[in-house]
């Protein structure tokens, strides 16, 4: 079993918590974003969404009720989706029970399905989806069956791009989520780009979207060992939006599109 670089590249999009299944179109948004920025690069790619909305239906009910409440005031219609997503992400991410395990297992199966077919796979994860993706990726590295540091053809995931991730918040630093799992010595490096807007409240944990300063979030997960094999980059991006809207503005940012093009073509 090996990845064939000449096959269609799969961009697996992992969403955050949504206000309903109707909003699960992030694969289309990412496809549009890539198309808008890729120019004439000779590449075949396809976007796909890993959906777990149905698994969180019960937990989401209270947030849907909040959305309904917001919708009765005119301004609520504008900010409702962003607020729901932010609140939902932060609260539900703290749960580490059966539902979370179910979501992780489903994602792992999806990734291995793509790997078995031989397609190079790149993951774009947003918000809560970044936490699940981090766990699944590190578990795949740890199982010893994949991710030979000398050959990318053994890698079920070729690159990771996270958007608006709350992974730097203390509340997520439970056991085993303090650093990435090292690859070992080899010639190949795994790339993780963590893109965040300084006003994104989910990244900062500040409900008022207070401007986040500093440079490192994901880069703090590097072990410092020479055998780590990771290139982790935090990229602070101006999405053009403020406060709650910043959390859902990544899908339209040309910078996100450019870095994604750079990732899936390399």
């Amino acid at each position: 079993m090996a990845v064939d670089p000449s096959m269609t590249r799969k961009v697996l999009v992992v969403h955050g918590v949504q206000s309903g299944p109707d909003n699960l179109n992030q694969d289309i948004l990412i496809d549009d974003l890539i198309k808008s920025r890729i120019g004439n690069v000779p590449i075949s790619y396809a976007c796909e969404l890993y959906k777990y909305e149905n698994l969180n239906a019960e937990a989401l009910e209270k947030y849907k009720n909040l959305l309904d409440l917001l919708a009765v005031i005119p301004i609520g219609q504008t900010i409702g989706d962003a607020l729901i997503e932010m609140v939902g992400d932060v609260v539900i991410s703290l749960e580490n029970g059966k539902t979370a395990q179910f979501i992780r297992e489903g994602m792992r199966q999806k990734i291995l399905e793509i790997y078995t077919a031989g397609n190079p796979c790149y993951i774009v994860a947003h918000s809560l989806g970044t936490i699940y993706t981090f766990d699944v990726l590190n578990s795949l590295i740890g199982d010893g069956e994949h991710f030979d540091p000398g050959s990318r053809k053994t890698w079920p995931i070729q690159g990771l791009l996270t958007l608006g991730s709350p992974i730097g918040l203390d509340m997520f630093k439970i056991a085993g989520r303090n650093s990435v799992r090292d690859f070992g010595l080899g010639n190949e490096w795994f790339r993780w780009l963590n893109i965040w807007d300084p006003n994104d409240p989910v990244v900062s944990g500040n409900i008022f979207g207070q401007h986040l300063s500093g440079f490192k979030i994901a880069e703090n997960f590097l072990s410092g060992d020479p055998k780590q094999g990771w290139v982790i980059r935090d990229i602070s991006v101006d999405t053009g939006k403020s406060w709650l809207m910043a959390h859902t503005a990544y899908w339209h940012s040309p910078v996100v599109g450019d870095k994604l093009v750079d990732m899936i073509t390399s």
Binding site: N40, I73, I75, T78, N187, D197, G257, D258, K259, S266
Partner: protein, 179 residues
């Protein structure tokens, strides 16, 4: 009463979320990493809120005929820098790739992108790309490494006021005139 409340809410949101969005852009023709004369485009956005701190960047460098290469210069403790990547960049004259976080380029006349304005912007490049591997669909390519800075004349391409901010579109990758 309802109308007054609505006005108050709208005003409060405008104060907290209202901003001006800028798109800055500059272009030059210069030698690329393989010695060919190419067209390069550098762009970044800035958001200046009515209340609060401005945010900007990163600046993205686009290379003619190497559409897959999108370098980012972002604010770091060392200034506005392009950090090279192990396996993808190297210093001239070396066969091995750079170490993690090697500074491979720098915008030298500003310390943060928030301060950068229309006018002259100087960029220095220290590295060159490594040969591509099986997964790269194109060779990585950017401005040639040079001790002399490249001078970009930056223009304020767009400036827009809005209540909730706007994500501005970036410029297209320059057309390829000759492979």
């Amino acid at each position: 009463m309802t109308r007054i409340n609505l006005l108050i809410i709208t005003f409060a949101l405008w104060v907290t979320a209202g901003c001006t969005n800028f798109l800055y852009q500059g272009e030059i023709s210069a030698p690329d990493s393989y010695g060919k004369e190419r067209h390069f485009v550098l762009y970044w956005t800035k958001t200046d809120p009515f209340i609060g701190m401005a945010k900007a960047g990163p600046a993205i460098l686009l290379t003619e005929c190497s559409n897959a290469t999108r370098l980012d210069f972002d604010d770091q403790p060392e200034g506005i820098v392009f950090r090279g990547e192990p396996g993808r960049d190297r210093l001239p004259g070396q066969t091995g790739s750079v170490a993690l976080n090697q500074i491979c380029g720098k915008i030298t006349n500003y310390s943060t992108l928030k301060e950068a304005l229309a006018g002259l912007l100087t960029v220095v490049i220290y590295c060159q790309p490594m040969p591509k591997d099986d997964f790269a669909v194109q060779s990585r390519n950017y401005l040639a490494a040079s001790p002399e800075p490249y001078n970009f004349q930056i223009i304020e391409k767009q400036k827009k006021w809005s209540f909730f901010g706007e994500t501005l579109e970036g410029p297209p990758v320059p057309d390829c005139r000759q492979q």
